[in-house]
């Protein structure tokens, strides 16, 4: 198990594609792991204090990681615990394992993830569990749970998996093809161009006019011949 602490307060974004694999590498290799500080290529050891504590495929990130991007990118197993806020793209392309963020998460959380689990105790930004620009399929599996609120665009082009958030902004499950999105609180428009899957909302929400009510649920989006379901929690 490794504990990482920032050595300085970052003025620009750090791009550190760190995964729990680091915990199984030699300390020397970990310190030499390539990261970007703005446009500069740096070593992980230049920017972070690294401490080895006991066994296990785990990373503990302590301190302010709100400007550190790509944490847990494509991780396959193990666990990352962020004791604070985390930057953009956390858990993008993730395939397995678990990320726990005790503070807030930024935009692009769990983008195009395939499996695994992300739990955020605070709030999260925009485009949670979406696709990157242009890609035709978003999240294909796994679980994202945000205990606080999130911004706009949740689960765009989602194919499979589970996303649960508190209050949310506009455009929930746009062009969704499968999987489940749960909004416990209020949100804006849900399900535009939805082809499949299910959206459950606890509070108020805006329904596009292209959905048909049927036995207490709404089906659509009829504009694209979709078979998605929107229901009240």
């Amino acid at each position: 198990m490794l504990i990482l602490r920032p050595k300085l307060s970052f003025e620009v974004h750090v791009e550190a594609e760190i995964t729990p694999d680091l915990a199984e590498m030699d300390l020397k290799d970990v310190l030499n792991f390539e990261v970007y500080y703005g446009k500069l290529v740096k070593r992980l050891g230049d920017l972070f204090d690294v401490e080895t504590v006991g066994e296990g495929k785990r990373l503990i990130l302590e301190g302010d990681f709100s400007r550190v991007k790509w944490i847990g990118k494509g991780m396959k197993d193990g666990e990352i615990v962020v004791r604070g806020d985390v930057g953009q793209h956390c858990g993008a392309y993730m395939e397995g394992g678990k990320i726990i963020v005790e503070g807030n998460a930024d935009d692009w959380l769990g983008t195009e993830m395939r499996g695994g689990e992300i739990v955020v105790k605070g709030n999260a930004g925009n485009r949670i569990g979406c696709n990157f620009w242009g890609e035709m399929e978003g999240v294909k599996g796994g679980k994202i749970i945000v205990e606080g609120d999130v911004g706009s665009y949740v689960g765009e082009k989602m194919v499979d998996g589970y996303i649960e958030v508190g209050n949310a902004g506009d455009f929930i499950g746009t062009e969704m093809k499968g999987g489940v999105i749960v909004v416990r609180g209020n949100c804006g428009y849900v399900g535009w161009d939805m082809k499949g899957g299910e959206i459950r909302v606890g509070g108020r929400f805006d329904l596009p006019p292209s959905f048909v009510e049927e036995n207490g649920v709404w089906r659509g989006d009829v504009n694209v011949g979709g078979k998605g379901v929107i229901r009240k929690l």
Partner: protein, 547 residues
């Protein structure tokens, strides 16, 4: 620019009948007979030395590929070149302009033709061509659905038509005449298409047959270096090989002893038999026979299984594709001239039709006479151009084809590829990538290593007659040339781009009399968004004019 000697390499230069160990001398960017004191000596012992490759058909610049880039930001996630000494470049199949130049150089190609330039967008096209480093470039303006052409053809005014072609080539710095689905794109503006060579365009009432023969007459009259470059009607539709045969037969009334009278491009997409996607099979055998009988050349249009983006001026076909794939689609109408459509595709090895397309392309490569066919993927329609070494290796090794066929859907009942045991030699591949394209384009300063040819030269770490069963080393060597010279300068070493240079833009100038077509120009420019005096391209980075 240094003078240089390539010593002891095995030179394969089919155009000059050279197939032996020989020294090659380079001075001032040209091949010379001998040199007293070369400033630099490259030892090529045990390697083959060939001319730089020429691509006759790749959509590398212009409105379409740029629209494709805008539509597909997901293509841009793949870094290729860092910015140290070079321009940075990214892209999966749709590359950025600098990456296109570098990737061509990296596999030993030094010349490329952008085959579909809407004349109205020639400024943009040349601007992009000017951003492609290292390689020499040409662009073919689109004529097949242009109202001017329809009018001249309808009135049988071949003199006016040849004047008009010369005027367009001069205005747009174009190299030749490209035709895409003649009359079909215009019919598409009226929600239709043409389904045979005798169907007519709804506005002028001319048929594809009249447009094709009219344009060939005008081209032969102007003695252009390149023949008509045609993307046939009904492309990509099962059963279309018959239209392809009919189109090829139209060349019988023309004669030309120096070059072909028609180049049928990406012919794989036009060699489908059957009546629907369900019973589609290969018509490559018939097409190959007809090509071999007539004064016609082809390029393969090989499909590479994986990601691709189809972009053609053939808007009706692109709409059919959109209905099949249901992904993204864009459609463009270029005023009086042409149209275009773009649809992303993924050629899946599990899909029979896609696997069959892969097989049909290779059938074409193996069955057409070796001096009539050129390797191409119709980039980015069939796949990336940087897969040419893969295609060459497939053509050279039956064993490699067998291995690759294990990975795809079974095509045995629909294609004769599994029974073909032909293997192209390395010399054949040199013909298909160097000699034929140079002859087809009418360029005599490249495609060979004779005296005064351009010093575009590639050294591959291969024996002159490699063992086809050892296909892995062939593929590796063809993909990573030991050395690439462009105009006598070393641009690639051991598969790495080491120098950024700028190539030339080549265009063709013929005399024309603007008075003769003055009335028509005056009339049509009333309907253009561009004024007549602002039409065309004022200048390009480095130009070579063929007069």
């Amino acid at each position: 620019m240094v003078s240089l000697e390539v010593r002891n390499g095995f030179v394969i230069d089919p155009m000059n009948g050279v197939f032996e160990v020989k020294d090659v001398f380079v001075k001032n960017g040209r091949i010379v007979e001998s040199l007293d004191k070369p400033e630099m000596v490259v030892n090529a012992k045990g390697k083959v030395v060939v001319a730089g490759g020429i691509d006759v058909h790749a959509h590398v610049a212009g409105g379409k590929i740029n629209m494709g880039r805008k539509m597909r930001p997901e293509e841009m996630r793949y870094p290729r070149f860092k910015s140290d000494n070079l321009r940075s470049g990214v892209g999966r199949v749709l590359l950025t302009s600098p990456a296109i130049g570098y990737e061509y150089a990296r596999m030993g190609y030094t010349t490329v033709v952008e085959p579909a330039m809407p004349a109205l967008y020639s400024i943009h096209t040349h601007e992009e061509l000017d951003s492609i480093p290292i390689v020499d470039k040409m662009a073919l303006p689109l004529f097949g659905n242009w109202h001017f052409v329809f009018k001249f053809v309808k009135n049988d005014e071949i003199e006016k038509l040849s004047n008009f072609i010369a005027w367009v080539l001069a205005k747009t710095k174009g190299f030749g005449v490209k035709v895409v689905n003649p009359c079909g794109v215009e019919a598409w503006m009226f929600h239709g298409n043409v389904y045979s060579l005798n169907d007519t365009d709804p506005l002028f009432g001319v048929s594809p047959k009249e447009v094709i023969t009219g344009l060939i007459s005008a081209i032969e009259r102007l003695k252009l270096p390149h023949s008509l470059h045609i993307h046939c009607n009904l492309l990509g539709i099962p059963g279309n090989y018959e239209v392809t045969l009919e189109t090829i037969k139209l060349t019988r009334r023309f004669e030309n002893s120096e070059r072909q009278v028609m180049h049928v491009t990406h012919v794989q997409f036009n060699s489908y038999a059957g009546e629907s996607w369900k019973d589609m099979s290969s018509g490559a055998e018939f097409v190959a026979k007809e090509v071999n009988r007539n004064n016609v050349t082809v390029d393969m249009g090989q499909v590479i299984l994986g990601h691709a983006t189809t972009m053609t001026a053939d808007s009706p076909f692109q709409y059919e594709l959109f209905k099949i794939f249901k992904t993204k689609w864009s459609n463009l109408d270029v005023e009086l001239e042409t149209g275009s459509g773009i649809v992303p595709v993924y050629y899946s090895p599990k899909v029979r039709v896609h696997s069959l397309m892969w097989a049909i392309g290779l059938e074409i490569g193996l069955l057409v006479d070796v001096d009539k066919v050129v390797i191409s993927t119709d980039y980015p329609n069939g796949g990336p151009f940087y897969s040419y070494p893969y295609i060459a290796t497939l053509l050279m090794s039956e064993k490699f084809r067998e291995e690759e066929m294990k990975k795809i859907a079974n095509v045995e009942r629909y294609s004769i590829l599994p029974s073909l045991s032909e293997e192209r030699t390395l010399e054949d591949v040199v013909k298909m990538t160097r000699v034929n394209p140079a002859r087809i384009l009418g360029l005599n300063d490249r495609g060979h290593l004779g005296e005064n040819a351009k010093a575009d030269l590639v050294i591959y770490d291969l024996p002159p007659e490699p063992n086809p069963r050892d296909y892995e080393s062939i593929l590796k060597a063809l993909s990573n040339p030991s050395l690439v010279l462009k105009d006598g300068e070393i641009v690639v070493k051991e598969g790495r781009v080491v120098k950024h240079t700028w190539g030339e833009t080549i265009w063709v100038k013929r005399d024309y009399d603007e008075e003769l077509i003055g009335d028509e120009l005056e009339d049509f420019f009333n309907y253009y968004t561009v004024q007549r005096e602002n039409y065309g391209v004022p200048h390009v980075r480095r130009e070579v004019v063929l007069c």
